[in-house]
Symmetry: D2
Subunit: 292 residues, 4 copies
């Protein structure tokens, strides 16, 4: 046969699990979307259709729900680690497990057991285990931010197709999509990062670096955000940011005899600039995949 | 000709306008999506294609941006009132204007001019003016809430197709979509509601009524939410709520020898119960259109 | 109590049902998304939470699936009629049922039982029954069409905010959203329209009228499309069209010393013109709700 | 400084270009969404904010539109090759260009210049050039297919969490997402594949292999689809398929005393199985990135 099987994986995607924990009348909630992807000795199912090595995707779904009961969900990362370890250690043909989790935040209303969905962003995490080493990437998507001043853009290359006017004062707005990689790889739970606290701190640093950077380019802002996270958080060696430039164009009001003194903007949808980059701790290697 | 023209309207939809106001170094932001719909003496453009009575949709767009400069955006409602009045009073063939606005909320980061998008919900408003009377409907969409207990469901009709088990304790979750109508109709700006404060208060009442109602049915919760708004806010005569029942199904863990004591739920997408209803002040007539 | 209950309805929305019919080795498929909305004597469930008059939304879902088996799905309309009649006639407190259905089209690949999803558009229908009279509205959404010439736009009103240039040749593109109402109201199945054939013919007329109309305005095209359907199909008395003007802007290539002879366009997202209107048979009343 | 810059790229994403070509009264249309991503000597813009090496994303947008005029759009691939070559060869700091294109298909209505959007799927292509070697990946997303029989699933692993029942007859439905890599790398246009014809043939092979494979697992179907493409198309060395298992669950009608003889199905949204795999020509290396 002139073809062969390359990289492959399978599993149940987007298992929506909500876990309630009761502390007397006070309830706590974890709201996750969990996707399982397994790989290993899977030649036969592709070539002959034999499922002898296949743990069904349905069983991976059941495992997500059963583990939510058995182990609780202290954090998305800790939950993903339980799942990944289980699949790799309990099934001989499975050599590698990757668990992806989206987490939706809630905050309390007035009662002990009433909640409202919070914020625009989704917290994400990805746990990968191959039986030897662990890789944990956490992140967020959909965090929309804007500086209404303190952003310039000038001094760029001018080729035949360059018509853009330089500016000394523009709106800079983006939707932060970030993934950061922990240097915890040995699976030692005692030495694991404080996942929840780490997330809160990274989110805070990203916001403060965005707000506090006087920007000459979105790339500069990206680097300021990324390096601040790596500088401030010793548990993180690498961060990758994907920042769409959500253009706000100053509307030309001159035809109506009005002056637009950086007051009225058109928020455009498409096209948009897209700035992506990785910031690394000295000595660390880039391992977060480039997916955009 | 055996056909004739019925109800019609036209205009520019989804004009995205961001308005910055500077108070020294402190900036304020209004972020709107404005849709204009006009109607009136428009037979000819439909029948012969003559545009003699047609104000272009492009001009309605320009008006949105010019008015953002000329009048500022104190509130979505006040801005919509300016626009509606302008179209009806400045163009003879236009007899009725309807302005729909979505508003996206932002909150400050640390700086005077840095912001992050806030909350899940979108604030909406709809202003209609026919040259004589005003109708202002405000509302919100996408406010996702959950009670993790204090909800029962039993005592319902049992027909041949009823298999649902009764429950004394379930999760009740919904995405609140609400529109409320003000009894301000005379266009007197001095006597107009405080639009911003009114919105904040209605939102708070909706959340508190949802959280504080021990629920025997989602209909009961709907009525409790609606009547609380009408009871508490004299400027509002009518509210319509559309509440999808975001089902959270208790996962059967018995096959794995685990007991699920209201701890682990599957959050389902489709199908979903959809409960809709209007609550009115005594003596008021239902005028909010049924659109779902 | 100073409030009272206005219009209300409830039911299970978005029941996704796929029905396979076997004709020997040849299979036929119907793929629907069915939403049920019921109303009637529902005061108590809103005021006290008593469910004594409530057929559960879960039972309405079960009914959809059971009826798919018992009656088959000859057409979305015929299926919806079965459902609406059942709810109104079998449950005393239910006085009105509205069934909404989306239908997704498939076409055969090479085999008798292999299919590929077809087209961009979704077929829709809405059946309403109040125990006495029937109203059937059918329609489609998402049918995207374009004329690359034979469209002009000029001769419009010029106010202070008008800057648009007139054009004798533009692209006219829209996404057709149409709903048409049948004059069949008596529930007599023998005299009912041929729902499947009627849909195919209306779709054909809409496309041909769009393509064949030399357009001076999108309103003119709208009326041409609507009147052609009413003129051609005696079973239809009313049609409502909602046509977003999907703007294609000619790109200014002059800065690059290139002439753009109606060749290169930017397809814009927002804002867009939105043209809506109803066309009626002489003597018919407008009954299709204005929802946009 | 304890951090450094890793992989990075930038450019204008989602440039929507429509190109009309006139052949007398007959028009031809190409409708693309073009995203540009450039990388190279970009340290300074990240570290100091100097834009001296930065060709603006706005200029990359202008280039897309200007090239649509200057070179036409014979195919998405040929257009992307023009763009990638331009950026890498005209700007010294730019060492690598990646052009991603989505293409939307249209078919004629009745007239020479009237069109309707066609099909569910989007054609995609990605052209990468680093100054030496070319990589062209083409593909499609959103092609939804179903076999209503000829699919079994049994003989799988049974662990503690396995509850799924084996089946000898199920619906197999998926949304084909495929990317295939051409072995054309030298940039010789005379020897380039016939991009348009190649796409049509690959699409046909995917559909026929899906329809014609009696399936014991979705992995088997995936491999059959992929190997058929590589076997049949000498210009292609590698294909990667991502196939969500769009579950259609047989509805239990027994509570209603009805037998469901593989007739009535519930089409589920989430969770879904997700099967991904690469098929390669013997001797070829896997180079299509794993992005899911």
């Amino acid at each position: 046969m002139p073809t062969y099987l390359g990289p492959n994986q399978y599993g149940k995607a987007e298992n929506r699990v909500v876990r309630i924990t009761r502390d007397g009348a006070t309830h706590h909630i974890k709201d996750l979307n969990v996707s399982v992807a397994l790989s290993g000795d899977m030649e036969e199912v592709h070539l002959s259709g034999s499922n002898a090595n296949v743990l069904t995707t349905d069983a991976t779904k059941n495992t997500v729900y059963a583990f939510a009961k058995e182990y609780g969900i202290e954090s998305a990362e800790a939950f993903g680690i339980h799942l990944a370890r289980h699949f790799v250690t309990s099934q001989e043909p499975i050599r590698r497990a990757r668990i992806r989790i989206e987490e939706y935040a809630w905050e309390r209303i007035t009662q002990a057991h009433s909640f409202v969905r919070k914020g625009q962003e989704t917290r994400i995490s990805e746990i990968t285990y191959d039986g030897e080493s662990w890789q944990v990437i956490s992140g967020l998507t959909g965090l929309v931010v804007m500086n209404s001043t303190d952003s310039e853009f000038w001094g760029y290359v001018r080729d035949r197709y360059t018509t853009l006017k330089e500016t000394q004062d523009r709106i800079l707005a983006t939707e932060v999509n970030a993934r950061w990689r922990f240097n915890w790889t040995d699976g030692d739970e005692a030495g694991a990062p404080q996942w929840e606290q780490s997330y809160d701190e990274v989110r805070r640093h990203l916001l403060e670096a965005f707000a506090g950077t006087y920007s000459l380019s979105l790339q500069q802002t990206l680097y300021a955000m990324g390096s601040r996270v790596v500088d401030s958080r010793p548990e993180i060696d690498e961060i990758r940011l994907s920042l769409p430039n959500k253009h706000h164009f100053l509307v030309d009001l001159a035809p109506f005899d009005l002056k637009n003194d950086n007051e009225v903007y058109f928020a455009a949808d498409r096209p948009y600039g897209l700035i992506e980059g990785t910031v690394l701790r000295d000595g660390a290697e880039a391992r977060i995949p480039v997916t955009d």
